[in-house]
């Protein structure tokens, strides 16, 4: 196994997923917010019918967002495939989705195109290549709004230049428990990074999951931005969280054990579970696994559960969830069943 592969795997204790987002606008049209509905339809037609030169052998499926149900739209938000703003909009808009869900393209978001690639773990290079291949394939047939001085033009001046945002969903429980997170947020600001919540801009960091992304998109090449984020930003934050974990375990082990085992116990016996409570408790289990306090359970299984306990996902899985007001009964049942198989018989129980 190569060093890079080992590094990729070993980061999963902190790095949940990575994301590349590319903002593009078609030349000759007002940006989405200023365009008429007819112009928005035209943009939609141009993008969804553009030949992509075989860049995606498995193709892209186009989802008409106005025909999708509220639950389907929520499902896409929970998978981080569309922004809340996009899900709630009523403008003519569509989502292009690769079959592996690793590539998504929002048409008529704030910009005409928001190409997005999300991959689990630290596979930033792969995510970058995926987003770039779509960007370039489309660029073969349509003209993007471009300015010799400002680069790719975007509705918001914070995205101009390369139009690329590199992001990582990080699990930072130790920095949160030790009270260091505010210091990290301040340091991140100095490094021109944005730190946001679970569902992006304007949302809370539920379960100590934080989205970190670059704020500067002008004045550096795409490769320089990628290199900086991959080789400096992520490793620094990973190291910071790991150091905090080590210190907490050395100085406050009973406190951490208590948090982890209480979370496991609650999840195993709870009869009613809200989505936010479940997310927080599962986050603590994730922390327990990555610090070696919990066995017989994997991070992947917890990740899966973290998705399944979200309202729209739960409604898809559990037949009774939709009839309940908040799905709390169904959610508790789902978690009890899932953890019963894994946690019973672990060395600590």
């Amino acid at each position: 196994m190569s060093d890079a592969a080992v590094k990729t795997l070993s980061d999963s204790d902190v790095v949940v997923s990575v994301r590349i987002r590319v903002a593009r606008n078609l030349a000759g049209f007002p940006f989405t917010g200023r365009a008429s509905d007819a112009q928005r339809q035209e943009v939609l037609q141009m993008v969804t019918h553009a030949p992509l030169g075989g860049a995606f052998p498995n193709g892209l499926a186009w989802v008409n967002m106005n025909q999708a149900s509220a639950q389907e739209r929520q499902l896409l938000v929970e998978r981080h495939l569309v922004s809340k703003h996009f899900a709630e909009s009523t403008l003519p808009r569509a989502l292009g989705l690769g079959h592996s869900e690793e590539l998504g393209v929002m048409v008529n978001e704030e910009d005409h195109l928001r190409i997005q690639s999300i991959l689990p773990g630290s596979r930033l290079n792969d995510a970058f290549e995926l987003a770039r291949s779509f960007d370039q394939a489309l660029e073969e047939t349509v003209d993007f709004a471009f300015h010799p001085r400002w680069g790719y033009l975007t509705a918001c001046p914070t995205n101009v230049g390369c139009g690329i945002r590199l992001g990582a969903m990080l699990h930072l429980p130790a920095l949160r428990y030790s009270g260091e997170i505010e210091r990290v947020k301040r340091a991140a600001k100095d490094l021109h990074l944005a730190v946001r919540g679970y569902y992006g801009e304007g949302t809370d960091a539920i379960g100590n999951f934080y989205q970190v992304s670059n704020q500067v998109t002008l004045g550096a090449s795409e490769e320089e931005l990628l290199q900086h984020f991959r080789d400096e930003v992520i490793p620094k934050l990973v190291d910071y969280e790991r150091t905090a974990r080590q210190m907490l375990l050395e100085k406050n082990r009973p406190l951490i054990e208590d948090k982890v085992y209480r979370a496991r116990a609650t999840l195993k016996v709870a009869r009613l579970l809200g989505a936010e409570e479940a997310t927080k408790l599962l986050s603590t289990l994730r922390f327990g696994i990555s610090t070696g306090l919990l066995h017989n359970l994997t991070i992947e299984r917890v990740e899966q559960l973290l998705l399944q306990v979200q309202p729209a996902h739960l409604a898809q899985i559990h037949p009774f969830a939709a009839e309940e007001e908040n799905g709390r009964l169904s959610r508790a049942l789902l978690v009890r069943r899932a953890l019963g198989d894994y946690v019973e018989g672990s060395p600590e129980s």
């Binding site: 940006f31 033009l153 001046p157 230049g161 550096a220």
Partner: protein
């Protein structure tokens, strides 16, 4: 000095010639007003500040009323939403836009990433230089020397000189 008619301090001083005689007059605010002198009711600095800010307000109104001819967005609307209406807004609202972008982008002054293949080689170097030179001049005039130096640095980075004649010919 006291008022000629009371003990209050005199604020109006006047020398008048009456019947060939030189007469000095020193009056407090009230007595001066009573004698028909028009007095400023507000201190002069405050008046000047008001005047200055009125000037500013007029300038701000003018700037807010600027409009992008392509999409109709006004600068005031942009300030309110932080979103441009179309690609042409970037040029329509110069140089305010340049300052806003540079601030949002931590001082970066121009794009260094890739250029779309379809327009590669067509990017108008002369236009970039003209724009940069114009902004350097504006920065120097406003005594923003640090900003002028950054822009000058960018010009050199692009292999350009302030004087267009000194530039190497553009590759076609």
């Amino acid at each position: 000095m006291k008022c000629d008619l009371c003990d209050k301090p005199a604020l109006v001083h006047e020398v008048v010639i009456q019947n060939g005689k030189r007469v000095e007059m020193h009056l407090c605010t009230e007595h001066a007003a009573a004698k028909g002198y028009v007095l400023p009711t507000v201190p002069v600095m405050q008046m000047l500040q008001q005047f200055a800010s009125t000037g500013k307000a007029i300038k701000a109104q003018k700037s807010a009323a600027r409009r992008c001819e392509a999409c109709g967005l006004t600068f005031a609307e942009f300030r309110q939403t932080g979103r441009f209406g179309c690609a042409a807004c970037y040029d329509a609202f110069m140089p305010s836009v340049a300052a806003i972008i540079e601030r949002a982008q931590s001082g970066a002054v121009s794009h260094r990433g890739r250029t779309p293949k379809r327009i590669e080689g067509q990017a108008d170097r002369a236009a970039i230089r003209r724009q940069l030179v114009k902004e350097i001049e504006a920065a120097v005039a406003a005594e923003q020397y640090e900003r002028a130096a950054t822009l000058q640095g960018r010009l050199h980075q692009l292999g350009m000189k302030t004087n267009p004649a000194a530039d190497p010919p553009t590759e076609s």
